[in-house]
Amino acid sequence: MVVNKNQTTAGKQTGFALLKNGNVVMGLVTIAAFVVLSVIIPQFLTVGNIFNLLVQASSIGIPAIGLTFIIITAGIDLSLPTTMAVSAILGCAIMAKTQSTFLGVVSILAIAMFIGAINGISVSKLKMVPMIVTLAVSTVNIGISNYYTQGKSVSGLPKSFSSVFAGSIGGVLPISVLVFALVAVVMHILLTKTIFGRQLFQTGVNEKAARVNGVNTTKIIFLIYFIGGCMAGINGILTAARLNSAGPTMGPQSAFNNIVCACVLGGASVWGGKGTILGTVFGSIVMALITNVMNLMNIDFFVTYVIKGLVIIAVCYLDVLRNRVKGSR
């Protein structure tokens, strides 16, 4: 038997072949951007700015890793940023009252997981449409966040909270970057080396065939929304620690744009069945880079919205292109 290394149809697509490997493209784009930017913007390549960039990337990347799992099943979770906000607000309120960092952190996680479970049951067991359900959950989240805080922030948190979760190791490596890296490694292994990961891909490629193959697709779909909630919770802890408070503005709509953009840029297809954690990590760094550069260049805040919107459109088209190359026609 001849071993064909190029797993899709043979040859003749060398130009597109690279495009098909999201990780290669993303890696090249990221490196190129770093080189160009460090030449044209003097304050770009400083240790401070690079870690600042990675901290920003982690707050996009952690929920984006959760969303990657969901996108692989052709689902979506619009509630990720608001879940982060509402869990951080309620958890921080508990933390402020009890002055217990541990209790607060556990509450944030628990609340976020609970919301993830609601999304999961709605989509998996009750067969609701992910886009609508998670939008509705998001609306509820916004309502609770604003009603509880009356638009203000929850503060008065114990000192240990921000010193641990917004601290850094040796004064250099920020905790949030470390957590991002850990989450990425664990999720990468879960996705590529375990039965759960293979069953997740089966569910995404062909749910009916997956069921015949003995996959409990209901369980898989529930779990990924649950994991999504979990990621929102982790992000909520890190973000609240960084701000040393929690408020409804923590999870704006634009945050979701960054998250979904990071996934698709990283090669996850909104049609389902495709996605990698490495790609999503690259995608998050690129999205943070765009934000970071626009900050450094003093571009108007609302102009950055226009630019990010255009990036999403471009990325969606890239997704279509990739799938056209892979598909039959």
Partner: protein
């Protein structure tokens, strides 16, 4: 006849990356003629039709219509030149009316419903069809949908009609109706290409038979002058393997017992037993609840009543198994390969490992090398024709895809193997291989539960047949008792 349509296919070749799908095809056809086009899967029938239908472009060669060279770059072009393509599964808009579907390509701006209803009536009338133009297409039986598709082709001036395996999911009555219509169209001067797997259909209907193999025309001649053996030999380029007729076999132990299985009306209190190494056929017409019975046993559809017992060879005899666990012990080849049978964009080894992941768990993680090794072994065992196990499933012919699906379940060593339409849409060569494989499995001790709509297949494979009619078991026949007319008389 004067002014007759004529079609000439001249030196047409088509190359896909790595495959020469068509190699210097020359065919001349004229109006008032039905041409049967047969060949195994992958012989190039569909590619040729897709070139005429404007879906693929030929790499070389020319197409002449009425003596003029034409370039068909799109389905719209094909329509312009009077080529109508009637697909195997009618491609239509289910929520639109019959009339809308028929006039679809000509609809512009505000729709004049009166006019399109008249048009629909006219063309359906030509075929003696009493389908109402205002019915929704989705509510029609599949045979009628095909009629609508033909009417659509005719109404846009179709003179050259391509039928791509139109009878695959037809009842006998629908088939006869379709043949009548095709013969009428021939009288009216249409030039008809009829692709089919079924030799008897080609013999019954066509004037001329063209056999394709490996992208070449291997024989062509008047249908009545060519023998069935000649066609078969040319289709597969070798001798046809037959399923052996065996001695009556005896069985001892029961491996599966199904008791009062009920899902709504289909199936309705179905009970039977399969013994070790036995092939049990389920025979019934469409709508008899055959597929539904398999789905219920396998735990896909929610069961209202009933239970399944399995002997797991652990010395405890028959044990009641909950429906959600049955998939652990059984294999299930589904009826619709592309719908729920496999992961089309995945490679062969990924497909073969997919239901067997638990076997490859080493401590926490999966052993992919072992998956690839085992897949290679089974692909070889089942004679899957593919460049390697790293090939994508979608690149394989139907017969080879079916073998891969068989292989993935065999890797699991199932106690009971549920097989729904083992050879649907599979070419003659692979068909015999798959049938032999099922007999061999049974001889080795696997119990097989086989559903098939082909009488020949069910009688060749089964040791015993149960007959289903509207969800109820109507009878049971042993191997010696199986005969066409008894099967038919029990199921209608």
């Amino acid at each position: 006849m004067e002014n007759q349509t004529s079609l000439e296919i001249k030196n047409i070749s088509k190359t896909f990356p790595g495959v020469k799908a068509l190699d210097d095809i020359n065919i001349k056809a004229h109006g008032g003629e039905i041409i049967g086009l047969i060949g195994v899967n992958g012989a190039g029938k569909s590619t040729l039709m897709n070139i005429l239908g404007g879906i693929h472009k030929p790499s070389q060669g020319q197409i002449l219509i009425d003596g003029n060279p034409v370039e068909i770059n799109s389905p719209q072009d094909a329509e312009k030149y009077g080529i109508g393509f009637i697909h195997q599964e009618p491609v239509m808009f289910n929520y639109m009316t019959v009339a809308e579907n028929i006039s679809l390509s000509r609809l512009k701006g505000k729709v004049n419903y009166k006019e399109i209803n008249v048009i629909a009536k006219e063309y359906l009338g030509k075929m003696n069809c009493d389908i109402k133009p205002t019915d929704k297409v989705g509510e029609l039986p599949i045979g009628s949908r095909q009629m609508v598709e033909i009417a659509r082709a005719l109404s846009s001036g179709g003179k050259i009609l391509l039928f791509d395996e139109p009878t695959a999911s037809f009842t006998d009555k629908e088939k006869q109706k379709l043949f009548e219509v095709i013969r009428d169209l021939k009288k009216q001067g249409s030039c008809i290409f009829f692709i089919s797997h079924f030799l008897d259909e080609v013999e019954e209907l066509t004037d001329r038979t063209i056999v394709l193999r490996d992208g070449k025309v291997v024989i062509t001649g008047n249908t009545k002058d060519i023998t069935r053996e000649e066609i078969l030999r040319n289709m597969i380029g070798g001798e046809v393997a037959q399923v052996g007729n065996e001695q009556k076999r005896t069985f001892d132990k029961v491996t599966m017992k199904v008791e009062n299985l009920t899902v709504g009306k289909l199936p309705d209190h179905v009970s039977f037993e399969i013994r070790r190494g036995e092939v049990l056929g389920i025979w019934g017409l469409m709508g008899s609840g055959r597929t539904e019975t398999l789905r219920a046993i396998y735990g896909i559809d929610k069961v209202d009543e009933g239970a399944v017992y399995l002997d797991l060879d652990d010395g405890r005899g028959l044990q009641k198994i909950s429906f959600k666990d049955i998939s652990n012990y059984c294999g299930y080849v589904t009826e619709a390969r592309h719908d729920d049978g496999c992961m089309l964009p995945w490679t062969l080894w990924e497909n073969m490992a997919a239901p067997n992941l638990k076997a490859y768990k080493k401590k926490l993680f999966l052993d992919y090398n072992q998956q690839k090794e085992d897949s290679k072994e089974f692909a070889k065992k089942l004679n899957v024709k593919a460049p390697s196990v790293f090939t994508n499933m979608s690149a394989l012919s139907g017969g080879n895809q079916q073998k891969v699906i068989m292989a993935k379940w065999l890797m699991k060593k199932p106690k009971v193997f549920l097989i729904d339409e083992p050879t649907r849409g599979v070419d003659v060569g692979a068909k015999a291989e798959i049938q032999r494989m099922i007999r061999e499995l049974a001889r080795e001790g696997t119990s097989c539960l086989v559903v098939s709509s082909e009488i020949e297949e069910i009688s060749a494979l089964s040791d015993r047949v149960i007959i289903l009619n509207r969800g109820v078991i109507k009878g049971e026949l042993s191997r010696e008792e199986i005969e066409k007319h008894t099967l038919m008389s029990l199921c209608v």
